[in-house]
């Protein structure tokens, strides 16, 4: 029988606590990049990353475990729609953090999303976000892939937004000649003649013009392009909405389809970032998980613990990081939700440390205003395990 010890011996796990920095204000400057994927609505972490080694999983949510889930190790599997992400796991460039959440147990989307973005314990206690504060300290530029400035990035001193107009396909609605005639009518003499010339030079590519789309995948492609530029932004935030599936959660159009979207976003970022992928960490976050047992409508309700997915070249060894609390009723939060045994701010802090080179103590004190956040850098980036 393959034991954990034998496996580790065979896989060369001799990296004793590597990656510990010299404590100080900052480490050596790091040219890293962070992409945050905000999963709004509360992703079901037990559906995305089912703990198949926990016998209570099948007792409590038999109908909510995909039969095609890919086994990662004796305890965890992953939903089959994360096909590309699974390849990254196999390629040692992705990891999962499970039974985790921001320090919020109230089950309100508004409060939960606020805590997720401010990184502070009390909802609505700050007008700035944890990522923005970290960017300000490290003097990092960023790009929000949204019309408004997301709270998570506020507080940064240098960032902009990208959000395209809603025109999906210009060629369908845009008549070059008619438009030029209309504009020409408002001009005289030389200016009017200019439109005659333009009319004769209608570019053939005009017919193929397509405005960028607003969907998360298109925004991710744009973000990947920007992040790989030498003097471009080093941070991007993308939102994937509508995870609040209270009914029929297993239906293809619900959570599984959104898993595919996340999967494609990871793959697209990897593709567009090209060589900069090596310096990048992409992480998902959601305001809370969902109930362990399915409700009467084949869905799940607002819960507590969930899972976070991470990928990028900054990861050196793939793993699932967890302090598994168990799914027996007595082990659940308020006897209904997966307990969050890892404060997800540990994960965020580790990503900041890896990508910006800031010291953990500085991050916890000035970014999250909580010195008690445990350090997870070595677990995610240091090759532990």
């Amino acid at each position: 029988m393959l034991t954990r010890r034998h496996f580790l011996t065979g896989s060369g796990a001799g990296l004793f606590l590597s990656g510990y920095p010299v404590h100080g204000f900052t480490k050596e400057p790091v040219d890293g990049r962070i992409v945050v994927i905000l999963l709004e609505g509360g992703m079901d972490g037990l559906l995305a990353v089912p703990p198949i080694g926990d016998k209570n999983l099948f007792k409590k949510r038999r109908g909510l475990v995909s039969s095609k889930a890919l086994k990662l190790n004796p305890l965890f599997a992953i939903h089959p729609n994360f096909r590309k992400f699974s390849a990254m796991l196999e390629n040692e460039e992705a990891s999962i953090v499970h039974a985790t959440s921001f320090p919020y147990t109230g089950r309100s989307h508004f409060e939960g999303q606020n805590v997720m973005q401010t990184g502070l314990k009390d909802p609505f206690s700050s007008r700035t976000g944890w990522l923005g504060r970290a960017m300000a300290i490290a003097k990092i530029t960023g790009k929000a892939m949204s019309l408004d400035s997301p709270l998570i990035m506020r507080g940064a001193t240098d960032y902009d937004n990208f959000y395209p107009t809603h025109l999906k396909d210009v060629s369908m609605k845009f008549n070059w000649s008619e438009t030029l005639n209309l504009i020409q009518g408002t001009h005289d003499s030389d200016a009017s003649n200019t439109f005659d010339v333009l009319g004769q030079k209608q570019p053939t590519s005009m017919r193929k013009w397509k405005m960028a789309h607003r969907d998360p995948l298109s925004l991710a492609e744009k973000a990947g392009h920007s992040l790989r530029e030498v003097d471009g932004p080093r941070v991007a935030v993308i939102t994937v909405p509508h995870f609040d599936d209270h009914t029929e959660i297993m239906e293809a159009s619900e959570h599984p389809e959104k898993f595919t979207t996340i999967d494609n976003i990871f793959a697209s970022l990897r593709n567009k970032l090209q060589e900069q992928w090596a310096n990048t960490i992409v992480l998902t976050m959601t305001e809370f998980g969902r109930t362990v047992k399915e409700n009467g409508a084949a869905g799940t309700d607002h819960g507590y613990g969930s899972a976070g997915l991470l990928a990028g070249g900054l990861i050196k060894r793939s793993s699932v990081i967890a302090d598994w609390p168990g799914l027996a009723t007595s082990e659940l939060y308020e006897r209904r939700d997966l307990y969050a045994t890892i404060d997800y701010r540990s994960v965020c802090a580790a990503c900041i440390e890896a990508a910006f080179g800031l010291d953990h103590d500085l991050i916890t004190e000035q970014v999250f205003q909580d010195k008690n956040i445990p350090r997870a850098y070595t677990h995610i980036f240091g090759g532990l395990g």
Binding site: L2, L70, L89, I321, A322, D323, W324, T378, L384
Partner: protein, 105 residues
């Protein structure tokens, strides 16, 4: 004379047992602050204590002693209380489960 020898023997045994219990307690107290659950902190070496300390050493990359048993408690306690105490505690904040897809057994 025989009684005296028995008494000394019993004394040595009880001192040795007490030392052993202290070392196991040292390990259990350390584990109680980590993600590696050793069960009750009672100074008794049980299955949970053995599994937890072996898993912690695996994760931290410490390969000696190969399989930690009760007889190794003093040596292990020395490591836990030594210069690497802080980094060991930090590494034991969470458990790391390796990904086995694509790996040969």
């Amino acid at each position: 004379m025989r009684f005296l020898l028995l008494l000394i023997g019993a004394l040595i045994f009880s001192v040795s047992a007490a030392v052993s219990e202290t070392n196991v307690l040292c390990i259990q107290k350390f584990l109680s602050k980590t993600a590696f659950n050793a069960g009750s902190v009672d100074g008794r070496w049980g299955k949970k204590t053995g599994t937890a300390i072996n898993n912690l050493f695996d994760q931290a990359g410490i390969t000696e002693p190969k399989t930690i048993k009760k007889k190794d408690a003093a040596e292990v306690c020395k490591i836990l209380q030594g210069s690497k105490k802080k980094v060991l505690l930090e590494s034991a904040n969470f458990k790391v489960y390796p990904i086995l897809i694509g790996k040969k057994p």
